[in-house]
Amino acid sequence: MNTLFDKIWDKHVVQQVEDGPTQLYIDRLYCHEVTSPQAFDGMRARGLKCFRPQQIYCMPDHNTPTHDQDKPIEDPVSKKQVDTLAKNAAEFGLTHYGMMSKDNGIIHVVGPEKGLSLPGMTIVCGDSHTSTHGAMGAVAFGIGTSEVEMVMASQCILQQKPKSMRITVNGQLGKGVTAKDVALYLMAQITTSGATGYFIEYAGSTVEALSMEGRLTLCNLSIEMGARGGFIAPDETTFEYLKGREFAPKGEEWDKAVAYWKTLKSGDDAVFDKELTFDAADIEPRITYGTNPGMGIGINDAIPESTQKEPSLLCTFEKALNYMQFKAGQKLLGTKVDYVFLGACTNGRIEDFRAFASIVKGRKKADDVVAWLVPGSWAVDKQIREEGLDKVLAEAGFEIRQPGCSACLAMNDDKIPAGKLSVSTSNRNFEGRQGPGARTILASPLTAAAAAITGVITDPRELYK
């Protein structure tokens, strides 16, 4: 009751369907090439036009190669999917940021940086990491392709209102501990299904102190706790970030918008369906050891003996360790690493590149580590160069690739080979996620950088000395 989630949700209710879901108005729909073609087909089959085309933004990101983007995509199936999005956007009159356009990048990086995702909005996309935009103080969540078609057809969606959860984290994060570590810690505490059915509001002094980039990382990972989405009440950090961005309101409109955005907070009397509180002092740099993001430990800890409660389903834990080629009780520090991936909608923003560069500066990449550094957008790429980070990275033996989702889900050529161990700043360590047979350890950009330098799993704080 009287939570920020209630305020935004309730404002967007068009009608309550009798004995059914809510018809919710959607301010912004983002479309990428993977989850939209069948929705456009459906629209054509029904003879429908997009109801509010100016509220829909399209860009390819999942299939885009991270090199030679100026040349045609080599994989004909990827090429067809990317081309299909461009054709569909043109046919339905939608804005499309094509590959190599300076506006292109990962949808969840581009939306916030262009000021397309604003406080108080409802935002959806056929992509579970749409929760990222919650960092702007928006109700943002991932949907399926049928639901994408609903929004195209009506700018509305039918949804059951989720329950509300507040996760409060208080205190100052230790040196070398990032928003990514906070999220990995939360997942391990509440499991990958602990927030299913809920929408999370993140609060507390730790969250308030996060930069916009850090908040985007935290909200991005809400879905990995099972939540529909997660968001943070907008504040001065949000307004500062948004001011002057391409689609942010300007002049008088800006003042009016900020005045409204300042009202977007949970009431002092707000009642959440569930409240959880954590202490920042308990959070260390984190890594995962298993095949879901909740299977994580502090970087200096050992893999637990078993996390399963139901003996009949013990095989889940064992299956994960077998796949990862790890043993219960094993410590992972010093384990040899084959690949390092910096990027994705989780950690592909400028601050992530700054963090990575801060570790590798003046050092050299380990010879036997393959490192893929993939900016989240061309805007991030531009800023990397403006800040001279490209030189720092090049001197340490790293090259910067072209923007896209890349090895997060390996729909392009950036596949981790079977059996190889990857330290990745992405969001999922599922079996085969980074390529068939690939073994993934999720970590922060600092921990990824430390692994890239030493060639083994390393506590990044060791490299501060």
Partner: protein, 198 residues
């Protein structure tokens, strides 16, 4: 795809694993299709568990075990977690499953199943454990899923449970209607909302 629902009685395929994510249900490399061909997605359901790396059948995986068949998939809790890909629901439907029984579903996947006329049935942990046990003892045992009465029955033991589904969605499944039809019919209400809020 829009098959009307009533009462389904079938043998089951057991998948006693927790946290089965949509990357396992349909790996990302099969998401490049630009059409909704059910057979293509059905053929690649659980692809990397069904086949070995060399392309041969993994005989240990339940879908390759001729003892188990039927249009009801029974899975451990938190089924369908991870990626929002509706392709996972297309793969499940394309393979021929009409019902998935679990003690817990991930939110987005649950909606995706409903939007593809696959019925997610949430049962208690105890009911699920007993069901896995019954299937293990007799793969030919049947389960009855009665949508009109919202009950699911383990016919081996006689155990029965009520399951939840909202009245609107139940009506849609039983009549073969979808949400887009409804939303398009309600455009006027949407316009009224816009006038009041923009």
């Amino acid at each position: 795809m829009k098959q009307k629902f009533d009462i389904i009685t079938s043998t089951c395929v057991p998948l006693p694993l927790e946290n089965v994510d949509t990357d396992q249900i349909i790996p990302a490399r099969f998401l490049k299709a630009t059409t909704r061909e059910e057979k293509f997605f059905g053929d690649n359901l659980f692809r990397d568990w069904r086949y070995n790396a060399d392309g041969t059948l993994n005989k240990d995986f339940v879908l390759n075990n001729p003892e188990f068949s039927g249009c009801i998939l029974v899975a451990g809790k938190n089924f369908g977690s991870g990626s929002s890909r509706e392709h996972a629901a297309w793969a499940i439907a394309g393979y021929g499953f009409r019902v998935v029984i679990s003690s817990f579903f991930a939110d987005i996947h649950k909606n995706n199943e409903l939007n593809n006329f696959v019925l997610p049935v949430v049962v208690s942990e105890a009911f699920l454990a007993e069901l896995f046990d019954s299937i293990a003892k007799n793969p030919k045992m049947e389960v009855e899923v009665d949508l009109p009465n919202q009950t699911v029955t383990n016919k081996a033991t006689g155990s029965s449970e009520h399951f939840d589904i909202n009245g609107y969605k139940k009506h849609c499944l039983m009549q073969g209607l979808d949400d887009i039809d409804f939303l398009v019919q309600n455009k006027q209400k949407t316009e009224l909302w816009e006038q009041a809020n923009k």
